[in-house]
Symmetry: C3
């Protein structure tokens, strides 16, 4: 057994979910692993990770809208507002979703369900480059 | 060190939490591992995973009720409603809970706390068969 | 490759986030690992784990306040109230955050982002001692 680490950058331009399943699969594919476990770790506290439906783009739009309603950008609600109304709300949205995620690899492929994609969930309005660390455990 | 993968099916009949700790323990027990790490991955976007209190059944009923209040089944709130009022709400409830979970194995047993059980959280009304992939890393 | 397990106790005195990054780093540092994966598992259903901003203490205060608003301590909302108004709300707050977390180790250090700390999120009012199991996979 062996382990390999890697880093993927995801460029974002505003709040919402960014599918980067293909980048992940491409790197994992190049490692030629039959059985394994892929760990993903998001190195930010204002962006997070999610596995979500990848068939209908309405799903990710509805998800982002839900979080906007759940965590309102009303600065009177928060102490931490130095970077604007999307500052503290980003930390809360991150806390409600995932910083870390792992996906088993079976018969050379990520064991994702038919409708599952892996997303970077951006919570800030301005463009960012987000780092996700990949750790692969392989046979 | 070695790794083994497996798949467990959980049959559900409506929204709520389904304890499948025993199925997990039974499979892990058969692998005869002293130290290890068990990863669980839910292959769906309308069902998820949770570790919760297993002593009082009121806890899981209260949890399901909380999520019903938090994510109301009002189709006017969502674009993605093709499969009915529990369609988009299922994706949101999944996003707020876990798609993946790992539990260390210590001295041959899952390192769960005294009151912890592992649950499949079903978010759809109709019966489903849910697939959870198990990845075991063992000594 | 090898695996090591350990347990860390975090003492809490009321609701809120307790930074225990240093305890984690100290133990991992003593294992002298270059590449690896650290898994953390919280053995409770009324406390949880979070990665959050560690620069401004207002962030963790705002986070705790948000969860207090989101999961109101009104016993009429819950069946499970045997241990008081912070009983069922603790289980719900745990369900919305993390029971388990993994952080890759790269070049001998946890691959945390610049502003990321690891927190035990206490949901009960009274003091507790919380157990977090560490599982380290190392080269």
């Amino acid at each position: 057994m062996r382990q390999v680490t890697h880093q993927i950058q995801v460029s974002t331009h505003g709040k919402g979910l960014y599918d980067f399943t293909r980048e992940i699969e491409s790197w994992v594919g190049a490692q030629q692993v039959q059985t394994g476990l892929l760990n993903l770790f998001c190195r930010h506290t204002s962006a997070s990770l999610l596995v979500q439906e990848n068939a209908d783009p309405d799903v990710t739009a509805d998800l982002n809208d839900f979080f906007t309603r759940l965590v309102p950008e009303e600065t009177r609600l928060y102490r931490h507002t130095a970077e604007g109304p999307d500052d503290m709300t980003s930390h809360i949205r991150s806390a409600l979703t995932l910083t870390h995620l792992a996906i088993p690899i079976h018969q050379g492929e990520l064991a994702l369900g038919t409708w599952q994609g892996v997303y970077l969930f951006e919570h800030r309005v301005r463009p960012h480059r987000r780092s996700v660390v990949l750790h692969l455990l392989a046979d």
